[in-house]
């Protein structure tokens, strides 16, 4: 039996911590597909994960900008060819450039929607078209998608879309027995949070490993008891 985990935005924050936890605790895991943009921190993260990987799990990094839809589609083809079935998909990658309405650059709004909404949709649709059967899909939304926040128009709108898209996915993919989970973390000490709240002391808020622990719980047998609605994770 093989079990493949795919995580987008895997180079840091919640994505990296999720990979780390599964690598350390999931005895059935045989492969991890990591997706992120090329960066020094991604290189460092891969080296660190390689050291943790004492059970010989196949770790395969892919380099992609999720705003590039053609690239995402090509990546899905590659993943299907090289890894067969993706059992757990964690749509974690996120992008934001918070500015007031009057200052929103439309191209940036489009990039926000492309990374936060269209990319997770495309990963799921393309892999389904390849015949992939997901056991679990985890979409990372945000509490900012539940209530709009002044100054965060594009981010709030995109995360609201993720919450609603997840509800539809949960209903439609039930025919395959696929569980679809949507979680909305509140303030979490990630790079994205630093963009949203640069003045904040990151040691005072929720840490990425806390959110990763919740994702691990959702993937466990008890996860099915708490996955029927958007799950708020906050301090």
């Amino acid at each position: 039996m093989s079990k493949t985990l795919m995580v987008t935005g895997a180079s840091k924050g919640i994505g990296l911590e999720t990979v780390r936890r599964f690598l350390e605790n999931d005895a059935d895991l045989t492969a991890v597909v990591l997706v992120a943009r090329e960066s020094d921190e991604y290189t460092r993260a891969l080296a660190e994960l390689a050291e943790l990987n004492t059970r010989g799990v196949t770790l395969t990094p892919y380099y992609a900008d999720l705003a590039d839809r053609d690239g995402v589609i090509a990546l899905c083809g590659e993943v299907a060819r090289e890894h067969g079935n993706v059992d757990i998909l964690v749509n974690n990658a996120g992008y934001t450039k918070p500015v007031p309405l009057q200052q929103v650059d439309f191209a940036d709004f489009e990039r926000t929607m492309a990374v936060n909404v269209y990319a997770p949709f495309t990963f799921v649709q393309e892999l389904l078209h390849q015949g992939n059967q997901f056991q679990l899909i985890v979409n990372i939304a945000s509490t900012a998608g539940i209530n709009g926040r002044s100054g965060w128009l594009t981010y709030s709108a995109s995360k609201a879309a993720v919450i609603n898209m997840s509800e539809v996915m949960r209903e439609e993919l039930a025919i395959y027995g696929t569980r679809v989970v949507c979680i909305s973390p509140g303030r979490t000490a990630t790079a994205l949070r630093r963009v949203l709240a640069p003045e904040e002391d990151p040691t005072t808020i929720m840490q990425p490993q806390d959110v990763a622990a919740v994702i691990e719980m959702l993937a466990s047998p008890v996860g099915k008891f708490v996955d029927s609605a958007n799950l708020v994770v906050r301090q």
């Binding site: 078209h129 015949g131 439609e172 025919i175």
Partner: protein
Amino acid sequence: MYSLLLLNGGIGARVAAGQPKQLIKVRGIPILVYSLVAADAVEEIDQIILNYPEGWRDDVERIVAAYAIKTPVTYVEAGDTRHESVAKMLGSATNDDVIIHETARPLVSSSDFTALIAEPAANVSLMLEIPFTVAPVDPESRTVTGYLERSTLRNVQLPQKFAKADLAAAHAFAKAEGRTFTEDATLVAVAGHEVRFIDGQDRNIKVTTPTDVKLATYLLTGGEESWDE
């Protein structure tokens, strides 16, 4: 291995005028998808013969492609009656054993197919006890003509399985006799072959009216739980 004859051909004015009833949606999903996905997960089914109402082949093929159905699908145009459709589809079956199902029963599960396959007899139908009394009548004179013992009657469900040779012989028999049957378990039995039955489930309803669509939606969304809370 089994060939699945998946009936998908009727024009159902009762559900949505102008559209064949199998292209209606339940929970926003084309109704035929439910049976296709359930059958696709059954290893012993290695051929699906899907029929389509005249003019609807492209739509049906697009749905099969979008849902990445792995089992090879053979397309056959629907006949004038259900009886004729089965006879036409039977000619395309590559296996010695066939299963008949209809897309109008979206609550079928993979385990319904595997339970049928696991039965040792060749010809088997899912059937249900009838929890109410039916009366034989003369519709012309609107007169009750007798009594039927309900313990010896069953509600005929799908799926059903047959030895292809028995089903083909039964259809040849019906043709020679000039008779049309509304389903195949009774046809094969009347033609002289043994047909057994196993208990089906009452949730495996046939969706033919708008009320049925609502009921199927309720059952598919686990409405029971949310109503109870």
